[in-house]
Homo-oligomer: 74 residues x 7
């Protein structure tokens, strides 16, 4: 058991992550930083739930909304 | 990992933020202050979920309702 | 970041506040006191969700039901 | 800010309170005692959601179900 | 304010209680023991939601599912 | 009041338990071990919600999904 | 009672697990690591809810979304 699985998010900093939310929304953006609640600061964010992406620019995402974070290949 | 991602909200104080709530409402207002639960004091608030904005003036928003906070460009 | 945003509710004591609840109800009443969970004691309360207000008189509102508290202008 | 708003429930002990629950039920009964979670012991309880009251007699109500407690006039 | 309202459940031990759950189920059984989360051990349990009771025998009920516990008259 | 009602699950270890979940699923399996959150390790598990059981083999069940655990007769 | 049931997940590291989520999604992937909240790092992940699997590659799954983790036979 890992003491802190979120350390795996460290490799995602400055990279593009894809995040599926509990409310069936999918967003994509560049991870700037995060905290132990999975709250995230993201830039260049797009809501890609529907075919035409919606620009969200720079956001803070509350971690309790997150279902899955897809991590880019290194 | 950041010890406190909410410090990123500090740059938003006195600026206009756009907040998407879990209940599919979107509000826009000037951030006055906030706490560690993401509770926020906002002024000049408008509910912009529908085409015609509704004026909410000065509000306290409970942080547990928040999905995403859009941060204005500096 | 404020250590306690709820102190902003202090200016509302003895004033009329409008409260939107998570269950889509809106109530209006005079704030008497509140605690750190946003539990509130309110008097002269009306449920104004529908056109014809319903009188609720004096109530304790559990804070976890609150979406937004509209603060009256000073 | 009050250190403990629930002390306001003390004046309701041995009086009839009306309680709206999150599940849209309304009950009415005599408050016997309560704790810091708003768990309540009530007697002579009636479910008055529908026109014809249903007798619930003596109950313990879990506080996390509560929306609003209407406090009787002194 | 009571320091521990659940002590009122002590008088129910070895008696038949009727429990309404948040999911609209009603069960009836003999309370054997309980803990501070309202988790309960019950015997001779019946699901009496519908007209024809369903036998559940001996169960542990997670307390977070409970709406109301009806206490038998002494 | 019991200090730890879950000790009653000790008698179920190596026995077949029937578990009703909050999501209206019912599963049946042999309890191997459990913790204080009611997380359970179960073997020979079947989803018996519908008439034809579905084999789930060996699972970890998150305790927060549990409604009721039926305890076998000794 | 086990002090830490999640230790049973240790045998799953580097193995393929099948995870049923509360939102009725089923995913399958290789468990890399996990923490005490059941947050998991998984690789070679597929969403197998529908007949045609969708490739999710490498993900972090928030543990609070989990219903059941199926453990492979040793």
């Amino acid at each position: 058991m890992s003491s802190e699985i979120l350390e795996n998010l460290d490799v995602c900093v400055n990279k593009i992550v894809l995040i599926k939310l509990k409310n069936h929304t999918t967003i994509r953006g560049t991870l700037q930083t995060f905290d132990q609640h999975m709250n995230m600061l993201l830039t260049k964010v797009e809501d890609i739930t529907e075919e035409k992406p919606k620009n969200l620019e720079k956001i803070i995402l509350r971690g309790d909304n997150i279902l899955i974070v897809s991590i880019p290949k290194e």
